[in-house]
Amino acid sequence: MPPELDSTGRPEPEMWQSVEQWLDSDRFRELMRDEFPEDAAEWLDPISRRKFLTLMGASAALAGAGCNPSVRPASPRTVVPYVQQPEQIVPNVPLFFATAMPQAGGVGLGVLVRSHEGRPTKVEGNPGHPASLGAANIYALGSVLGVYDPDRSKECLNRNVGTSIDRVLDALRDELGQQRDKQGAGIRVVTGPTTSPTFAGLVAEFLGRFKQAKWVKYEPFGTANASRAAAAGFGQPVNAVYHFDKVKVALALDSDFLAASNPADVRYARQFMANRKVREVEASLNLKDGVGAKALNRLYAVESMPTSTGGVADHRLPLKPSQVEAFARALAAKLGVAGVTAPTNLPDLAKQWIDPLAADLTANKGTAVVVVGDTQPPAVHLLAHAINEKLGAIGQTVTFTEPVEPQPAEAVAGRVKAGAAGLAELTAEMKAGQVDLVLFVEVNPAFDAPAELEFAQALSAADKVRTRIHYGLYQDETAALCNWHINAAHYLETWGDVRTFDGTATIQQPLIAPLYGGKAPVELAAELVRVASGIMGTAAGQSEVNQTEALELVKATWRKVYDAGSKSGEFDGWWQQAIKNGVVPDSAAKPATVGAVKLDALSDKAFTGPEIKGLEIQFRPDPTVYDGRFANNGWLQELPKPITKLTWDNAAIVSPKMAAALGCGISYPWTGGENGNTEADTVELKLDGRTLTAAVLIVPGHADDCVTLHGGYGRERSGRSGTPDGKPAGFNAYKLRASDSQSIGGDLTASQATGTKYQLACTNSYAFMESRRPVRHATAEQFAKHHDFAQLPPASAAEYKDIRALTPGTQEDWERLYGPDGPKYPYPHDDHHGGEKKDDHAHHGPHDSRIIPLSLYPDYPQQVKGQEANKSYRRWGMAVDLGACTGCSACVIACVSENNTPVVGKNQVSRGRAMHWLRIDRYFSIPGTEVMSDELGGRQTRWSGREEQVQRSAAIRTHFQPMMCVHCEKAPCEVVCPVGATVHSADGLNDMVYNRCVGTRYCSNNCPYKVRRFNFLQFTDYSTGSLKLVNNPEVTVRQRGVMEKCTYCVQRIRNAEIEAEREFQTRPKDANGRPKIFDGEVVTACQAACPTGAIAFGDVNDPQSQVLRWKAEPHSYGVLAEQNTMPRTSWLAQIRNPNPAMPKGA
C-alpha cells in the first residue's frame, strides 16, 4: 500500500514529533526553516581562523627547515688548488697561442687558439696573419674538435693489432735495408701537397738517400689546373694573389673564392666584401667601415652550382661547367685578346652577357679582375690571365709570387709525381709488383683515388706490396689495407711549420701534449731520414738528422732561414717573436716577374680538358667536410651547407628542370618537414661504366643538364660521425670520379627516379620569404631613390619608430654621425615608398603610437634604482650587415665552439631539433623592378607562378641571414615562462637561467624568431671523456629538458666588465661614472669569426660605438619588429649593385 497523501501531495508521516507537525501549519513550517538560526554557531568553533593560520604557518616553516642545505656538507670532495702555480697559468683565465691550421693543399691559415688550463678549447683568427686578418673559416674553427675526437687513432697497428712505434720503425728499417741495393727503387712515399719547409726538406733528404725512391703527392681537389696554366702562360708555375680591396668589378668563373674551400677565403672575403657594405653615416665612412652606395663594387658570377660567391653576386649566370671555357673565350674575344675567337655554341643568355660585361670590365680597367675556380680546366685559367692582362689587372688586382709549395731540388724533382697521374703511375707499379714499401702520410687514396685506378684493390691485392705503412689521425680506409699504421698527432698537438697563400710562414706550436702519443709529420719524416742515413750513410750536402723531436727539427729549418737572412739580434728572440706573432717576418714568397701571357697552349687539346658531351657531372669538394678529411667532425657534419642547408649527407644536386626530367621530386615528411626532413628520390648515375646511386636534391639556380656531386661523403671507415652505425654517411663521389673527370665528367647517364626514397636532413628548406621580408634588399639605384626602403614592414609600421628609438635621437648625435650638415635623409622621411605599401608615414603615425602603449609588457628598459636602465646601464646590441654576409657559416661553428652546443646527429636534425644558437637563414628570391618586390614567395605570386619562376632559374637570387636571439627589449619569451627561467638583465640581455628551466617550451612557441633551442633528449655527451675537454669552461653544459639560446656571449661581456672594474683607476669613465668598456673590447664569438666583418656588437649607449653607427644607417631595420618585440639585434638591408646594362632577369 502506498502511504496516505496529505493535501499537498506529500506522504503522511507515520509518527509525529509534535502537534504542530501533525497540523503542518504555516507556523510549523516557518519554525522548521528557522531551526538553524543563520550561522551564529560558526564563530564558536574551537579552532579560530587565526589559530588555523598559525598552525599552518608553523608546519610549513618546519617543512622548510628540513630542506635547508646548510646543515649538510656542500661537497664530500676536497678541492686542492695548484700547490705550485704553473708558469703563466691562472686558473680560469685562458691563454691564447698563435699557430696555423694546414688547409687544403697544405696552405696554412693563421689562428690564435684559446687554451684553458692547458687544453685548447677554441680557435680564433690571428689578426696579424695575412690570410686570417683576425677571422677564420669553418675548417679552422672546427679543427679544435678534431683534437678530442674519440675516434682518433690511439695507437700504432700491425695488421689491425696494437703495437708500438718502435716495432713499426723496426719494420721500416728492415724494409729500407732490403732496398739498399735497389737504391730504394721499391719505395714510394705518398703525401698530400705540403707547404711545410721542414717536412718537405726532410722528405727531400730521404729521397736524396734513396736515389730511386719516388714521392707521390695527391689530393683529390688540387690546384694543378691553375699551376699548369701559369706554367704555360708565364713560363713558371707562379702563384696568383688577388687584391680584392682594389677590385671594383670582379668576374668569378666557376670560382667560389669567398668560400672555405679556397684556402685564402678569409682574406679574400674580408677584402672583397668590405666594398659591398653600404654606409651612409659620415663617421663610418671616415673609418672606412664600408663605402657609400655609389662606390659599391660589382660581382658577376658564372657557375653551375650556386655557391656563396654566386649567392652574393650582383649577376649570376648558371652555366654548365663545360661551357665556362666558351664563355671565357667569348669574353676574351670581345675584349680583344689576340688569337682567341668567339665560339658560337654559347646559350642565349650567356651571349647577352658578353657585351655589357665586357663594357663594364673595360670601363674599370685596372680595378677589374677575373678569377677562375680550380675545377676549371687550365685553358680557362689561361684565358683569365689573358683577360686580366688586357684589363690591366696584373700588377694591380692580381699579382704573382713564386710558388708557395717548396719546389724540390733538381735531383729530386723528377721523382716527384703529383696529382691523379702520379697516383695512376703508383697503382700501375703496385700492380706490377715494383713497389715494396709504400708509406701514406695523412692521405687516404683507398677512399679518394680516381675510381678507374681501383687503388684499394691494387693495394690489398695479395701482398704485392710487402710493407704498407699508413700514417694518419684516423684508422681510415687506407689504414685498413696497410699492414702497419702509425697514429699521427693533431696539428694542435705538435710543432711544425706551414706557409699560407702568399707564402708567409707560420711556426705551428702545440697547445697540448699529444693525447694519444701520436707522432708529428716532421717527426715521421725525420725518422725516415735517420733510418735512411743509417742504411745509406750521409753524403756530402746531406744533413745529419740526429734527433727526431719536432721542435728541434722545425727550429733547425728556421735557424737556416735566419742565418741566411740579414737578421739582427739573437736567433732565440727572433724565434720567440715569430712563434708569438704566428707569423715569420718577411717570409712571404718572392714576387714573380711575369711577362706577357703566352696563349700558345690554348690550342693544346690536353689543356682544354676532354670534350664534354651530353649530361654533365661536376665534382666539387664538399662545403663542410671538404674532401672527406673532416668527415668525422660532428660540428662540420651538422653544419648546414651554405646553399642547400643539407647536413650529414651530400646529394646529387640538380636544377628543378632537370629534376622534372628525371622524375625526381622532393617531399617533406611530417616529422620535421621543411625544418629538417627532406625526402628525396634516388637516381642511378652512370659514368664510364661506374655507377652510383645517389639522392637527388633540387636547388634552384643550378645549371640545367648538369649534376653536382660533392666529394668527401661515403666514408667506409671514419668514425661515429662520418660512418654512423658503421654505415657510410652520404654518397661516395669518388666511386664515379676518374682521372679524366677530376672536375667535370661528360656523357653521364642518370636513370629515372629509382623509386627508393632517401631521407636528407635539410634545415630551412622553406626558401620563400612570403612577403614578410625578413631579408630586405634593394639595388643601389633603388636605394638612392628610397633611402628608407628597409623601414617598410610587411604588416604595420610600428617598427619604424622602435628601431629609431634604439638609436640616440638627439640632434647632436645625428650631426656627429652624419656630419656637420646633419642627416642627409632626415627622419621621418616623408617620401613616397613604392613597393606594396602605398601608405605614407603620416598615416602610420597615429596607428603606430596606438600600438606601442597598448602593450602588456613592462616598459623596458626598466627602472632600476629609480633610474632609467637605458641611460644608467650599458645597452648591449648587435647589428648584422646582410650586404656583407656570404653565408660561409664560420659564425655558426664559432658559436658552437664557444657555447658548447651539442651535436645531435642526423636523425635529430631531421626531426627539426638542430641545436645551433645561430643559424643562417637562406632565402631565394627574384627581385622585381620595384623596390623590395619579390617574385618568389611574394604575396602576389601564386604557387603555380612560383614554380614557373623557379624553373627560370637564371634569375634566382640567394639571400643569407644570420639569425640568432635578437634580445628583444619586450621579449615574448620572458612573460610566458612560468618559472622565470628567462629574464631581462639591466643591460638589456635576454638571459636564460638553465638551472631554473623546467622545460615547458612555452618560450620557444612564443618566440617569433624561433631561435630558442631545446634539449629534447640528453644531447650533450656526458659519457665520452675526451669530448668533455673541448667544452668552454665559462659556459654551462646543458642538461636534457632545458631551453637554450644565444646569450650575446654573455661570458665575454662579463669578463670585459670584470676587467674594466679591475682597471677602475686607470680607465676613462662612461656617462654613468663606470669604467668605460671600449668599443670592440667585447667581441662575440660569431663576430670574431666572421671573415667579412658582417657583425657589429657593442654598447648602444656608447656614442662612439660601431654598432650604434650601424643602427643609425638608413637601411637598418629590425626583423619582425612590427611584433613589438623591439629587437636589440638589427640588420642592415642588403644592397646590391647590378649593372643596368645587363639583360633583364640576369
Partner: protein
C-alpha cells in the same frame, strides 16, 4: 529525511503503482526504497556485469601502456615524442586541453544546472562529476609529463623554500597551475560531499563487513540527523556557487595559454568564450558517451531517460554552434586585421599541409552535430553515441589545429612540420586507460547515480521532495 535502513532488496523495477514522472526525468514507478535498491545493489550485491569487465580490461590494459610510456619518457626525455622546433608543443598539450575540456561538463551539470533548477541534471551529475575528476586527472598529468624536467614540477607552485624559487606570475602556465589545481580540488570536494549521504546508505545496506567498514569510514559518521542534512545542504550549495565560476575560469585560463602568446591566430580575444563553449561541447559529448553504455549495461533506463539524452544533445548542439561561431570569428578577425601573419596563417590552416585537420574539425564540429536538430536522433542511442564520437574527435582536432599553427608562424625560414611518434599515441591511449580504469572502478564501488538526490527528485507522493532539497526546497 532519513536513510533507508531496511536491507531487504526487492525487484529492481518500480512497482508500477505511480503515474509517470511529470518531467520525465525518472522513468518507471519508483519509491524511495526501490530507487535506493536499484542504485545501491550495483555496488553492494549484484554480479559485476560482463560489460563492466570488458571496459575495465580495456582500460587497465591501456593504463599499463601509459605506465610503459611514462617510464620510458622519464628515462629518455620528451624527445621520444614528435615535438620539435618550431612545434614545441605537441600531443601533450592537445590532450591536456582536450581532457580539461571534457572535465567541464561534470561541474557544469552539478553546479550550474543545479543553480538553474534543471532537474534533469540529477541522475547524471554523479558520474559526470566523477568523469570530471578523472578527466582533470588525465589532463593534469599532461602538463607535468610534458615538462623537460618533470621532476621539478613543484617549481610551478609557490612553494616557500629557501632557494628562492617563485613562480613567474605573468605566465599563463602559472595561471593554469592554479586554475587546474583549484578546479580539481573544488570538484573533488563537491563530489565527495555529494557522496557522503550515499556512502552512509551503502554502509547501512552493505552486504559484507568489509563494505560496511569501508563505506562507514568514508561516510564520516553520517547519521542523517537534521544537523547533518542542514550542514550538508548548505555546504553543497556553497560548493555549487564556488564551482560555477570555476567552470568558466578554468578553460578561460587554459585558453590564455594560447591567447597570451603572440603566435598568429593564437593571439585572439575570442579564445576564452570560445574555449569554454568548446569545453562544454566536448564535456557533454563525453557525458553521452558514458551515459549510453551505463544505462545499457546497468539497465538504468529509469534514471537515465530519453529526457536526459535529449537535454544533453541539445546542450551539445547549442554549444557546438557557439564553437562554430568561434571558428568563424577567428577567420573573420584574421582577414579583418589585415595582418599578413593572421591572414596567411589562416590560409595555411585551411589550405596548408595540415588543411585536412581543419576540415576534419569543421566536419566533426560543425556539420555532423547539425543532425541533432532531428528530435528522433537526439534520443536514438546509436545515433547519439556516433555523433558524440564525432564531436570528441572534432574537439580533439580543434586543439590539434591550434597547436599545429606553430608549424607556420612568423618567420618562414623556421617553418616545419610535426608528427606524433608511437610514444605520443601510446600516451594518448594510456590516458584513456587511466580514465577508463578509474571510471570503471568508480562505477563498481560507488553509486554512479546519487541515491540521495534521486530520492529528493521523486515526486512528493512517492516519498521525494519534487526536486533538489538544496534548491527547490530551499527558502
Amino acid at each position: 529525511m532519513a536513510t533507508v535502513t531496511e536491507t531487504t532488496h526487492g525487484p529492481h523495477e518500480g512497482n508500477g503503482q505511480y503515474p509517470p514522472h511529470p518531467e520525465g526525468v525518472i522513468g518507471g514507478s519508483h519509491d524511495l526504497r526501490t530507487l535506493g535498491d536499484k542504485i545501491a545493489t550495483v555496488v553492494t550485491e549484484d554480479e559485476t556485469p560482463r560489460g563492466w569487465w570488458i571496459w575495465f580490461a580495456l582500460g587497465f590494459g591501456l593504463l599499463n601502456g601509459l605506465g610503459i610510456a611514462l617510464l620510458y619518457l622519464f628515462y629518455a626525455g620528451v624527445g621520444i615524442w614528435g615535438i620539435n622546433q618550431p612545434v614545441a608543443w605537441g600531443f601533450a598539450i592537445v590532450n591536456f586541453v582536450w581532457w580539461i575540456g571534457i572535465g567541464h561538463a561534470g561541474t557544469l551539470i552539478s553546479a550550474i544546472l543545479l543553480l538553474m533548477h534543471q532537474k534533469w541534471r540529477t541522475s547524471i551529475n554523479r558520474f559526470a562529476e566523477a568523469m570530471t575528476l578523472f578527466a582533470v586527472a588525465c589532463a593534469g598529468m599532461f602538463p607535468l609529463i610534458h615538462m623537460g624536467r618533470p621532476w621539478l614540477f613543484y617549481w610551478l607552485y609557490p612553494v616557500p623554500v629557501n632557494f628562492g624559487m617563485w613562480p613567474q606570475f605573468r605566465s599563463p602556465l602559472t595561471w593554469d597551475v592554479f586554475a587546474v589545481t583549484t578546479y580539481f580540488t573544488v570538484s573533488l570536494v563537491f563530489w565527495y560531499v555529494g557522496l557522503i549521504p550515499d556512502l552512509a546508505a551503502l554502509r547501512d545496506v552493505g552486504r559484507t563487513r568489509l563494505q560496511r567498514t569501508v563505506y562507514g569510514i568514508f561516510a564520516l559518521g553520517w547519521r542523517g540527523s537534521a544537523w547533518h542534512w542542514r550542514r550538508y545542504e548548505k555546504l553543497y550549495l556553497c560548493l555549487a556557487g564556488l564551482g560555477t565560476p570555476l567552470v568558466f575560469s578554468v578553460h578561460t585560463v587554459v585558453s590564455f595559454d594560447f591567447a597570451v602568446a603572440i603566435v598568429p591566430l593564437w593571439h585572439a580575444t575570442i579564445f576564452p568564450p570560445f574555449f569554454v563553449a568548446g569545453a562544454i561541447f566536448s564535456g557533454f559529448a563525453m557525458v553521452i558517451w558514458l551515459a549510453i553504455p551505463l544505462r545499457r549495461i546497468y539497465k538504468m533506463h529509469d534514471f537515465i531517460t530519453d529526457k536526459h539524452l535529449d537535454a544533453s544533445a541539445k546542450v551539445m548542439l547549442g554549444t557546438g554552434m557557439l564553437v562554430c561561431y568561434g571558428y568563424f570569428c577567428e577567420l573573420w578577425m584574421a582577414i579583418y586585421s589585415h595582418s599578413i601573419y593572421e591572414v596567411q596563417t589562416s590560409m595555411e590552416r585551411m589550405f596548408g599541409p595540415y588543411g585536412w585537420s581543419y576540415w576534419a574539425l569543421l566536419t566533426c564540429n560543425l556539420v555532423i552535430p547539425q543532425l541533432l536538430w532531428i528530435p528522433r536522433l537526439r534520443v536514438n542511442e546509436f545515433a547519439l553515441f556516433a555523433i558524440a564520437t564525432f564531436v570528441q574527435i572534432g574537439m580533439w582536432f580543434e586543439r590539434y589545429v591550434i597547436v599545429i599553427t606553430l608549424t607556420r608562424d612568423q618567420l618562414p625560414s623556421s617553418w616545419g612540420r610535426y608528427a606524433p611518434t608511437a610514444w605520443d599515441w601510446l600516451t594518448l591511449a594510456g590516458s584513456f586507460g587511466l580514465f577508463l580504469t578509474a571510471f570503471t572502478l568508480f562505477v563498481r564501488f560507488l553509486p554512479m547515480i546519487s541515491i540521495t538526490e534521486m530520492r529528493e527528485l521523486l515526486p512528493a507522493r512517492q516519498g521525494g521532495r519534487d526536486g533538489h532539497s538544496v534548491m527547490e526546497n530551499a527558502k
